[in-house]
């Protein structure tokens, strides 16, 4: 996208003001992506903040090879993955399976994240293993290709496609009430 290329060109020339435009353009999508990955708005905002801090620091050396939106989504996914790992480390078990709050789709926490209409989906996403959830969200919400996700996760494209199918099947089962 030419507009993004121009933004990056200016950014690399030291015009940090363009960051404001980049942030305003993509902030909601990025916060949504991070929240869908982490099931936690506060952590999601931390992730987006950290991504922009790193982005600011990359002035004059950043090179955009794909789309800016894709790049930022990748950064958010990487940071969210790290945050998830850190949570696992701290808690000793997987974050996703650790919180009792995640076990009940009527929990107001899920309503608070994406609204009542999508609370079931939010809850069900939270029940998925992180790797599966990441593939599903990156592919479906961010429009990222399986090949790109495979590179990010350092796994084969077959593994990514498998995670995607498992995630969909499991979500479908949960939303149909087959799994509680």
């Amino acid at each position: 996208m030419l507009e993004d290329k121009l933004l990056i060109w200016k950014f690399n020339r030291g015009n940090l003001n363009v960051l404001r435009g980049i942030y305003e353009k993509y902030k909601d999508d990025l916060v949504t992506l991070a929240a869908a990955l982490l099931n936690d708005v506060s952590s999601a905002e931390d992730v987006v903040h950290e991504v922009f801090v790193s982005f600011i620091e990359s002035s004059r050396k950043f090179r955009l090879t794909g789309t800016l939106k894709g790049y930022l989504a990748t950064c958010v996914a990487n940071n969210a993955r790290n945050k998830n790992k850190a949570r696992r480390t701290h808690r000793g078990i997987a974050f996703d399976q650790a919180s009792p709050a995640k076990a009940d789709s009527n929990n107001p926490e899920f309503h608070a994240i994406f609204g009542e209409e999508l609370s079931q989906l939010s809850w069900a996403l939270g029940q998925l293993p992180y790797e599966q959830r990441e593939v599903l969200i990156l592919h479906t919400y961010s429009g990222m290709r399986f090949k790109t996700i495979a590179q990010q996760q350092s796994v084969s494209i077959n593994t990514v496609q498998g995670r995607y199918r498992y995630a969909l099947d499991k979500l479908r089962s949960m939303l149909n009430g087959e799994i509680k």
């Binding site: 507009e3 020339r13 940090l16 916060v31 949504t32 987006v48 903040h49 989906l121």
Partner: protein
């Protein structure tokens, strides 16, 4: 329909809004980075200054030297001093110099936040030749001790090229000077022109430091602590500005030998920012070889970045051709770079050329934003045309554009023109031929334009 029937559609519905608190955090960080960047840019012996110097036909070696070494002293110093040295005389002598070499030491102490100190230190060797261009070698402290290569810059006035080798980042950047110069942002506007800088510091007060000796050379010193001294170094909108500038001139040669500058200020959040710069070991009319100005080959493992030249005449012609393809005619207005996207999209929506109809078919079913992006991509050469025109305006090249009345059928009518020199204008006609004409011929051509 059960929720599971279309999970993908549900996921796409997920939408959160970033909180005001996140907005504040990110914008504060950007502000802090801007602040740091402005301070860094304004004091480093960085390529930007040099590029501008080399670009301008009136800012040759003499002005370059003065910008680096003397401008912060202010025009008030150009009067003859009580001890006999006049900086106007210094300038006259500098103008005769074909090349000089100097060393620059720069340290910045900064605070991004009260608990986030930041320090940047670099030392550079600069070689500038009227004939060959500029070379800068910069080093930064090695965390393991000593100094390590930081960056190299090679600027060729003749080739209009700049090569920057960022060693710490392993980047090798090649770019066209004109592109940079004509599209640089507003933030550099205030100090890119040495004349502007000199005018800005005209009100400085100073004192004569008398005679001294530096490296066995008898020198006369000048000093200003006037916080109103608005140089590239001291320019700041922050509070409590402190400035201490000293210039030492060789009594015998009347040429600068050393320049010291310290400045500090406090930003709106109470963080102190300060920097110290010393230009020393200045050697005038040093011997050099052409080979010294040739950039080295790309080091192993370095990423090469080529910044294309976008703003030449061919760029403009390609943009005009794309106007014909997309709109069947020329755009009425190419002077609004900020609104370019909207202008292009609006013209596209009205167009019924085969190219436009084909694209309209392709983007059916896309969202509004996606359509805008696709049209923007198709109109890329037009964006470049617009930037080219804006660059001509910024450079005061007297551009004029008549797309409102001139069509592709108007083969002999002036569509776009700009000044090349006092006796020449470049003209692109309605049929996209380009010619150089005299001012008289241009007046004749423009007299025949439709009103």
């Amino acid at each position: 329909m059960r929720p599971s029937d279309n999970i993908n559609e549900l996921i796409k519905k997920l939408q959160l809004k970033a909180s005001a608190e996140l907005d504040k955090r990110v914008h504060d960080d950007i502000s802090a980075a801007l602040t740091k960047s402005e301070q860094t840019k304004s004091v480093q012996p960085q390529p930007n200054i040099w590029r501008t110097i080399m670009k301008s036909p009136i800012t040759k070696l003499a002005t370059a030297a003065i910008v680096i070494i003397a401008c912060v002293i202010g025009l008030s110093l150009w009067r003859t001093t009580s001890s006999g040295i006049a900086l106007a005389d210094v300038l006259a002598r500098v103008e005769q110099v074909k090349a000089f070499r100097c060393k620059v030491s720069f340290t910045m102490n900064d605070q991004i936040a009260p608990d986030k100190p930041y320090q940047f230190e670099v030392r550079s060797t600069i070689l500038l030749s009227r004939e060959y261009g500029l070379k800068v070698n910069a080093e930064t402290p090695d965390p393991n001790g000593g100094w390590m290569p930081y960056a190299e810059t090679y600027i060729s006035d003749e080739k209009k090229t700049c090569v920057e080798i960022a060693h710490t980042k392993k980047k090798y950047v090649r770019e066209e000077l004109d592109y940079y110069a004509e599209t640089q942002g507003d933030q550099e506007e205030d100090w890119s022109d040495p004349g502007t800088i000199l005018k800005a510091i005209i009100a400085c007060k100073y004192e004569n430091l008398g005679r001294s000796t530096i490296d066995g050379v008898e020198v006369e010193g000048f000093r200003t602590t006037d916080p109103n001294c608005r140089s590239p170094v001291s320019e700041s909108r922050w509070s409590n500005p402190q400035v201490d500038v000293k210039l030492w001139v060789d009594v015998k040669t009347r040429l600068p030998v050393r320049f010291e500058e310290f400045s500090s200020s406090v930003d709106e959040r109470g963080n102190t920012h300060s920097q110290r710069q010393v230009v020393h070991d200045v050697e005038w009319d040093v011997p050099f070889t052409a080979a010294e100005f040739e950039p080295p080959p790309v080091p192993d493992g370095y990423e090469v970045l080529d910044v294309p030249r976008l703003n030449d005449e061919e760029t403009a012609i390609q943009g005009l051709k794309r106007c014909i393809e997309l709109f069947g005619n020329y755009l009425e207005n190419i002077s609004d770079d900020a609104g370019a996207k909207g202008i292009i999209f609006f013209a596209f929506e009205k167009s019924e050329t085969s190219t436009a109809l084909r694209l309209k078919e392709e983007i059916k079913g896309l969202t509004g934003e996606e359509k805008l992006d696709r049209v923007s991509d198709a109109g890329e050469p037009i964006f470049r045309l617009i930037w080219f025109y804006v660059g001509l305006v910024q450079d005061k090249k007297e551009p004029a554009y008549y797309g409102k009345t001139v069509t592709p059928k108007d083969a002999d009518k002036v569509l776009l023109r700009w000044k090349v020199s006092d006796s020449e204008y470049r003209v692109i006609f309605g049929d996209l031929r380009a010619e150089t004409v005299t001012p008289e011929k241009l007046a004749e051509l423009e007299a025949g334009l439709p009103k």
